[in-house]
Each structure stands twice: as C-alpha cells, then as structure tokens.
Symmetry: C2
C-alpha cells in the first residue's frame, strides 16, 4: 500500500502509471499460431487444444441439446438472477438505439445517420476456474439488440472436453447458437481467418489472458476490428468524510480479488478517513477465500489524501480509471467535470459489483488509461453508422457553386464537373 498525502503534481505521472506489459515477447508465438490456423484450419485447432487445454476434440461445436439442457445443472435462484440481470442490461442497452434524425443543412439538402449492425461478431469468453457467464450477458445482449446476424462464441473446453453449464445456459438464454469449444490465441486466429468449423467474423470482443490479448491486437493488424485494447482491471474510489469505511474497503477488495495486478486506488479528503479504511481492509481481507491474491493487489495499491476538490477531480481525469466510485455526499461537485473514466458509480449504495453484474450498464470497459479515448462496450460497439444524403434540384443550386470552387482549389476538376454538369442540366431544362 503506497500512501501519499497531497503529493506535489510533479509526482502525479508516477502515481498514475500502469504496470508495463511486455507484449512484444509474445509476438512470435502469436504469429506462429495465426500462421498454423490460417494454413491448417481445424487441424491446427485440434492440435493446440490438445496441447493447451489437454483434451482431444473431434467436433468443436457445442450441440444444441447440450445448450438446451444446461440449465438443469443450475439452481433456480441463479437462473432467476441471470434473467434479472439480462432484463436490466437489455433495458439500458436498448435505450441507446437511435432512430434517424433528418437534418436539413440547407434548403434542399437532407442529411442523416442510421445505425446498422456489424453482421458477424465473435465473443471470446475465458475459461479457467470460474465461468464468466456475466460477460456473455454483457457482449451477447448488445449483439442481439443490434441485430448482428452471426454471433460466434468461443470458450476453452475443460480437460473433459466440456464447457461450464452456466456459460451454456446464458448463451442459450440469449439465443446464441454458435458456441465453440476453442480457447486461447487459436480461437482468436480461427475467428480472424475462419476455418471449416468456425466462421470468420468482422469484430472480436471479450477479455482474456495475455495470449488472448496479444492475439486480439494481432487480429487488429490483420483487418479485424476489436472491442478495445486490454489491460489489468482498475478501480478508483473517492471517499469523503461521510463514506462508510466498511463499504469503501469492500469495494477496494472486490477489485483486488481479480488478480495481483489489479489496480486499486483510494482517494480521501482526510488522513482520518484513510486510516479508517485501512483498518477495515485488514479486517475484511482476513475472511476472503482469495485473500492471498487480494493482499498482493492491496500491497501495490495507491492511497491518496487530496484535500482540494480540484486536485481530486484533476487526479481522476489524469488517471482515467476504468471504474470510479464516488462515495461522496454531493456528487454534483464532480459529475460534469469527469472527462476520463469508463464507468462511474455514485453514492454509498452503488458498489462496482452492481455494474459488473446486474444494474444494466456494461462491464467491458477501457483500462490502462484508454478511457481517455475509448468508450466501454455499448450499442455503438456492435453497430456502425451510415450517413445518408439526398439533395434536390434546389439543393444543388444552393451549394453547387461552393463545391465547384472548393474542388477547383483542391485541383479536382472531375469533382467539379459532377456538379457543373448537373447545374447546367437544370438550367437547360428550366
């Protein structure tokens, strides 16, 4: 735990630094996997699956009966929880769909934008000890709402060659039928190039380990879009004197349990509050099943006392946290001034966990200071906007001369001609 009281602004760059990942080391490995998958298709996938997931698979696709019966293995309460989360996430994401808004920029000149789905998308869901079914909700719901025609889900099999039922149940609930038991960089390569089993997609979404992250970056250079570049997860909590230390500590620990490289930042306006939170942290930490992991993240965490409101706001924007909890009495002092953050949680009863699972917002968010220029996943991520325009005779008469002059000044005579010819035609037919 690094503690700084009102640090000089010269120190801020070091306080907002993220751990440096050595992505370059993986380049050769990733490049080799992509080459193999491009050349050998499913055969390469089978070999990698045997090598990395320690299971031999003939068929990667999960059959529909398995998806349909997956719910039998889950408690009714968990299924109800997933349905509740689904409803909230649907409501919030559906509210982001925009209709067309025709704008007359000049008499006779109508312009508008329309959203269209990205037709083929790939969702990557990591395997490992815990099944991240919540991420299927976060990616699958906007994909389906957008109207993406082909939604492909890849997730690694366990050593028995199967996939956790919570993952299959959630996929089934959303109507995702193309679920493939392929993981790692080979899954990303498969969705980039397509194989006999696995369709090529236009954009790949989802979290993953360092290999998956590097593979997505590689895919980006091969012409496939990705949701956003990835880094370790982050939470910044701003707590004023009214914040309950126990609430703040629980939020910091919910971030810390993700991994030793989780970024945990706590800002208070007094030393007293910071001390209270520290005490609560050690009490709560002792009872966590993942306490060793959480302890490592807490050891690396930043605790800051920033007495000035302006400093707190500036530090938030300088750091650009993925998650920001404002556990403060008067959030209006902050909201309009927050420029760089992925998702903001306001008040004492809004833990990050709410947005991770069930409030309705998306949990796929920009880390590593990318909140400066990237949004989290939302409906924009599964769609693109096409501009349309329709110009009448009167419209081209209004703007035609300006186009002619500008085209000529840029040395583009044919651009000018396309207008001149039309203006002449209108004159001739008057």
């Amino acid at each position: 735990m690094k503690i700084n009281e009102n640090p000089n602004r010269d120190l801020w760059p070091s306080l907002t630094e993220r751990p440096v990942r050595k992505a370059e080391d993986l380049d050769k490995i990733i490049s080799a996997i992509f080459d193999e998958v491009q050349k050998k298709g499913d055969k390469a996938l089978r070999a990698y699956t045997e090598q990395f997931d320690r299971v031999k698979l003939d068929d990667f696709r999960v059959n529909s009966a398995e998806i349909e019966s997956a719910g039998d293995a889950l408690s009714t309460a968990l299924k109800e929880a997933i349905v509740l989360a689904k409803n909230n996430i649907e409501i919030f994401h559906a509210s982001q769909l925009t209709g067309k808004n025709v704008v007359k920029t000049t008499v006779g000149v109508s312009c508008w934008q329309e959203m269209r789905p990205i037709e083929k998308v790939g969702l990557y869901i990591p395997g490992g000890t815990a099944p991240l079914f919540s991420t299927i909700l976060m990616l699958g719901i906007p994909a389906k709402l957008a109207g993406c025609k082909e939604v492909v889900l890849c997730t690694p099999p366990n050593t028995k060659g199967s996939v956790d039922p919570a993952i299959l149940y959630t996929a089934g609930l959303l109507g995702i039928e193309s679920v493939y038991k392929v993981g790692g960089a080979q899954a990303i390569a498969a969705m980039t190039y397509g194989t006999a089993s696995i369709p090529k997609v236009y954009k790949i979404f989802g979290p993953g380990n360092q290999f998956v992250t590097a593979a997505k970056q590689f895919a980006l250079n091969k012409g496939v879009a990705i949701d956003m570049p990835a880094g370790p997860s982050e939470l910044m909590v701003v707590a004023d004197s009214n914040a309950k230390a126990s609430f703040v500590a629980s939020d910091l620990l919910s971030q810390a349990e993700h991994g030793a490289d989780s970024q945990v930042i706590c800002i208070t306006d007094t030393v007293q509050k910071l001390e209270e939170i520290k005490r609560e942290l050690s009490v709560q930490l002792a009872n966590l099943p993942r306490k060793d992991t959480a302890q490592l993240a807490i050891d690396n965490s930043q605790f800051l006392v920033l007495e000035s409101l302006q400093d707190r706001i500036d530090f938030i924007n300088e750091y650009a946290p993925e998650h920001l909890i404002l556990n403060v009495v008067d959030e209006s002092l902050y909201l309009d001034k927050i420029i760089n953050s992925g998702s903001v949680f306001i008040g004492p009863y809004t833990p990050e966990s709410a947005g991770d699972y069930a409030s309705g917002t998306n949990h796929t968010l920009p880390t590593n200071s990318y909140a400066r220029m990237y949004s989290g996943v939302n409906m924009d991520a599964f769609t693109k906007k096409i501009t349309f325009q329709k110009i009448s005779r009167e419209g081209i008469q209004q703007i035609g001369e300006a186009i002619e002059l500008m085209a000529e000044a840029e040395g583009l005579q044919a651009h000018k001609n396309a207008v001149s010819l039309r203006l002449q035609d209108i004159k001739d037919n008057e």
Copy 2:
C-alpha cells in the same frame, strides 16, 4: 474496365476484392522513424524534414500572424465557399450530440451515458500538389464541437518551408491554433510520443500516403487511437434505366481522378444503360486535366449488370463501398436493406462531390470493406461515452440478491461481500 453480366455468386468474392497492399515492407522504416523521434525529438524531426521535404526548419510551429493573414491570398468567393461548407458541416455534426437519457432499469437503479470529448487529438493533413483544406473542415469541426481541449494539426511544409494559405485560412477559421509544419511518418511519431515542440495526443485522424497510413497503424500498437484503418478511395454507383448516363459518368470520373488505385464500381440493371455510361465516360474523360490517372482507374474499374434487385442489394452489402450513389427512381427499395456502406448519396442531384465538400456529412469514411465494422468520422469519433449509475437503498435491495448469487457462481466472494455488507447495513438501520 471489367464487365460482368449477372455474374454467378461464386464469382462475387473475386469481384469484391480490393488491391492488396504490402504494408509489411514498411515496418522497418516506420519503426526506425518512431525510434528516432522518441529518442531525439525535434532534432529527429528536423533531420527527416530536411531529408523528405527538402527544407531546413528551426521552428515547426506556424505563427499566429501567418494564420491570421492567410485569407489575404484567397479569393473572396473561395472563402465564402469554405464558410458555407463549414456552416453545413457544423449543423449536421452538432445534430449528432446527444444529451443524457437517464434510464431506470429497476426501481431505485438509474443508469445513463454521457458524451465527453477526447481531450487531445491530432489531425494530419497531407501536402503535395493540392492543399486538402476540406479535410480540415471534416476533422476540425467535429473536434471543436466535441470540445477537444487540444487540437494539433500537422502538415508537411513545401520546399520553401511554408504551408498553403487555404490550409492556414481554414485552420484559422475553425480556431485551430496549433499548426505544425511536419509531415509523413515523423509527424505521426511526433504526435504519438510528443516532442519539445509538438504535443503528444490521444487519437490521430486524417488521410495520408502509405507511410502515413503505416505510421498510424504503428501508433495504434503503441497505445494511441486512430480514426480508422485506411485504403484507396472507393465509389459504387447503382444506376437504373432512368439515370442520366452523363451524371453517372461524371461521378465515376470524380472517383477515378483520385488515383490509379481508386476503386470504381458501376452497377446497372440493363446492358443498354451500361453501354450509354461507357460512351459518356470516354467523352468526359478526354477533357480532364488528370485524364491519365483517371484512365488507369477506369481501366481497373468493375462494371456489372445485375438484373435482380436482390442481387444489387446483396452485392452492395458484400462489397461494403465507402461511397454509394443510388441514382435510382425509387430509393425506398434499397435504403433499409443497406447494411454495409460508409455514406450513401440518393437520387440524380446528389453527387459524391457534395458530401466531399459542402452538404454537411463527413468525407472521412471507411474503405477496403471496413464499412462492415467501422463508421465514418462523426461526433462519436471525437468523443467517448461514460456510463453513470446511481443506486438507492431500495435499488440495491431490488438487485442485491441477484448480484450476490452471480458473484458467488463466478467465484468472486469479495464482489458478493460489497453487496452483502450494504444489505446488512440497511437491515440493521431499518
């Protein structure tokens, strides 16, 4: 000119293919330039400017007096044309700004999104024979409307060390004060790392030659965002029997004059119309100053007769054209079914030139089939969206149990605790 009548769908993949660019060959050159600029800053920029632009510069920044007086070198008519275009582009882009829409996903759970500017953006404007001042309008107007705090413009100097007055006038008109005489990959490297003269930015926009394009891709891998990957410009015209062949030919030529690698595609529903357009093309081509360039692009162009409406629609979506002109009587047969295109121009009096300059839509658009997953530049490109949520006591009681169950099922006990603690606290204080 390649002509195909109702080609079998097996042939479509070859008909929608784009020229393959060998970007890899540039990797070493670009990597060396980035290294030099990172290490030596302005000194490296001076050396590259002398080497590539054949001019020695001490100071890269265009001084404000130069910007203020630039208009003196332009005709009043051209300045008025630029102002007309500016107004239309402003109206259309301002219409894309969205306010917040607070959604109650559950009783006591409020979620919303807000747009925020990307604080630091870099605009690259190519030099060469023609000054692309229209691109400054297309990038500078949304940057200013978004409220980007730092707008940096880089453009190569000519051999006299100066910049075309139309570029400076347009920058001045938009209030862009940070104009730097640096071009090529070194300009992109400078905006990626920052130098003593040139600020580091978060996102880089703008067209350029193969070096600039490769440098932007390199910057992307160094953590800077870019507008979109680039390729040669494209126009597809769909002309029905009512379309005037002279209008269609003029549009195809306006695309062809961009360069020999410009992609020109013309689709008609009859052989007769195709023949008419061919005849008009040769008439108009003869009179163009850039006729040699245009001839090369026309030689490589695709002409298709597709008698079935469904084929025409499917071919559009399969190709995903940057620009699509629908010179047809009844556009309603098409509009809702167009999924993949950058910008659509409807009817006989809507040439692509209109959108290139003055109708109000943006001319920075996805090429190379990237319209499948990328939008053109719009207000989204200069902003990001932050999600906000505020949950009341009642709200967390509504969704708390679902969060607890899901967190537990994902093996994240501390995520569950953050909710349990709050629910217990509410009970204790009832």
